[in-house]
């Protein structure tokens, strides 16, 4: 298995528990991002791909011999995150449009959004990452949008989190499971003026505008060990792991 770093924690933990119940089945897990997951599944190198976004049309066309079958195992939100210093200085929410402008480079100083007078460190992700697709679709209207205002381009959720922590004026995009004291999630101000916080409740009731399903993808209908593992994740024990990792269970 390989793919999204968002789905990875769930799958890693599930694999550990799964191994305890089925010691003869080996599950090998790699990261790489949603793009890698889909790519390697298409090339037949892995049995299950992990993705935190939908498969693009180009990817389907690239692999005509693969029937991509998706299995949703949870939901999460992609949250615009800022360094804790920015949050403490008062920036708690932004509109989608403002975030888009930041990434396009039209807003370059926190001062312009009523924050401290510091240049915004815009942290972007590699283009094939699931988190980026979902984020850009919501913020700039195009999942493959260019972000001319970006200062850094990083890879996994972990790397992005590290960079946000290391800076005192950063903005980035992370799954809600990666929020902590140093990495604060912004609420989104909707077009009618309401502020929606990135909490689990808002993911469940759909008010938070940037949510997505976490997917396991197989080539065709899964059978055998693959099916057993996917069933495990969809079971109560598996879903408990999903919740433990900070995401929303799919069965709600």
């Amino acid at each position: 298995m390989a793919g999204s770093t968002t789905v990875l924690p769930v799958v890693s933990r599930a694999a550990e528990q799964f191994k305890a119940r089925h010691p003869d089945i080996q599950i090998i897990v790699n990261a790489g991002g949603s793009g890698v997951g889909i790519n390697q599944l298409g090339e037949g190198k892995i049995a299950i791909g992990m993705a935190s976004r939908d498969i693009t049309r180009e990817e389907i066309e690239k692999f005509p011999n693969t029937t991509f079958v998706t299995h949703a195992i949870g939901r999460d939100a992609v949250v615009p995150v800022v360094s804790s210093e920015i949050y403490a200085a008062g920036i708690h929410a932004l509109t989608l449009r403002q975030i888009g402008q930041i990434y396009k480079g039209e807003i370059s100083n926190w001062r312009e959004v009523d924050g401290p007078d510091r240049d915004i460190l815009v942290i972007d992700k590699e283009k094939s990452r699931g988190t980026r697709h979902v984020f850009m679709a919501a913020v700039l209207g195009d999942k493959a949008a260019e972000a001319p205002g970006a200062d850094l381009v990083l890879g996994s959720n972990n790397e992005e989190q590290t960079a946000v922590v290391q800076s005192d004026a950063a903005i980035g995009m992370l799954s809600n499971a990666w929020l902590n004291d140093d990495v604060k999630g912004l609420s989104i101000i909707l077009s009618d003026g309401t502020m929606v916080e990135p909490t689990l409740a808002h993911i469940v009731d759909g008010t938070f505008p940037i949510t997505r399903a976490l997917l396991l993808i197989t080539n065709g209908t899964p059978g055998g060990n693959v099916k057993t593992f996917i069933d495990f994740i969809l079971s109560a024990a598996g879903q408990a792991i999903v919740k433990e990792s900070g995401y929303v269970s799919i069965v709600q």
Partner: protein, 277 residues
């Protein structure tokens, strides 16, 4: 005998395969490969930013490491008392062996943070950080090889120069340097080749932005090198696509440059060039 063929043939195999795989890029994208924008979704494969990044990072590394390394080599060779030589050489060999990923770890955890604070930057992930890291990596190599070069100059030259009453500096400049020059240049070229090809340390601290910084000589901004791009993106590239070809093309350029450097360096080291034998 077969093994000899395999060993020498492998290099052709590698070059050949890379060439085959970049063919698509050359035919489909052509000269547009040498543009500035890299955007896979729009089928833009401009690799100039990466070439520039590799170049700048290596330049930084050399500017720092060459003077430092040469002077240290002079010290080890000419000033250090003989009985310490064994320890110094062993230490240098040890340091030359530190794996690159550990340099990367040091870079991410310490160096980039320091650079960020030192220059009051938004992010310490810059071309300069990568350059400094690379400089540390090639420093032991430069020191060892330059020291070897200097040691290879027979003592009689030193004795003659000293006999004439020359100071240490003059001994170096007029007696040692001309003879050791070829080897030292060879050492520098090898170090250059190594710096160009380094992946892990650079990948973690360079920032991954596929752009040439504005202004172009600003090394306190993030950038992208050939090696870093290959390391990060190759796994998500579909084999055989234009994207893949473009990446392989980049790799091929790197390979050719490094190979040329290596061959020239070997020529420098060629013992038949030595004048004093």
């Amino acid at each position: 005998m077969i093994s000899a063929f395999i060993s020498t043939g492998i290099i052709f195999l590698i070059v050949g395969i890379l060439l085959m795989n970049s063919w698509n890029a050359i035919t489909d994208v052509g000269w547009r490969l040498f543009t500035l924008k890299w955007n896979v979704a729009n089928e833009e494969y401009g690799i100039l930013s990466m070439l520039y990044g590799s170049f700048m990072v290596t330049l930084c590394a050399l500017v720092i490491a060459l003077p430092l390394g040469l002077l240290t080599a002079i010290f080890v060779s000419e000033v250090l008392p003989g009985r310490y030589r064994f320890y110094a050489k062993s230490l240098l060999e040890l340091l030359a062996g530190i794996p690159s990923i550990i340099y990367g770890l040091l870079g991410v955890a310490f160096l980039s943070v320091w650079i960020g604070h030192l220059f009051d930057l938004q992010s310490g992930r810059t071309i300069l950080s990568a350059g400094i890291l690379l400089a540390s990596m090639i420093l032991p190599t430069i020191i060892t090889l330059s020291d070897d070069a200097l040691q290879n100059v027979p003592d009689k030259y030193r004795e003659a120069a000293n006999g004439l009453g020359l100071t240490k500096y003059e001994v170096f400049r007029s007696a040692l340097l001309p003879i050791a020059k070829a080897d030292i240049i060879g050492a520098c070229l090898l170090a250059l080749g190594r710096a160009l090809g380094e992946t892990m340390a650079v990948m973690l601290v360079i920032g991954g932005i596929d752009k040439i910084p504005t202004p172009f000589f600003n090394i306190l901004l993030p950038g992208q090198t050939i090696t870093s791009k290959l390391g990060r993106e190759i796994a998500e590239t579909a084999f055989g696509s234009d994207h893949f070809s473009a990446m392989i093309f980049m790799g091929m350029i790197l390979l050719f440059v490094v190979l040329i450097l290596t061959f020239v360096a070997q020529h420098c080291f060629n013992p038949e060039q030595r004048l004093y034998e």
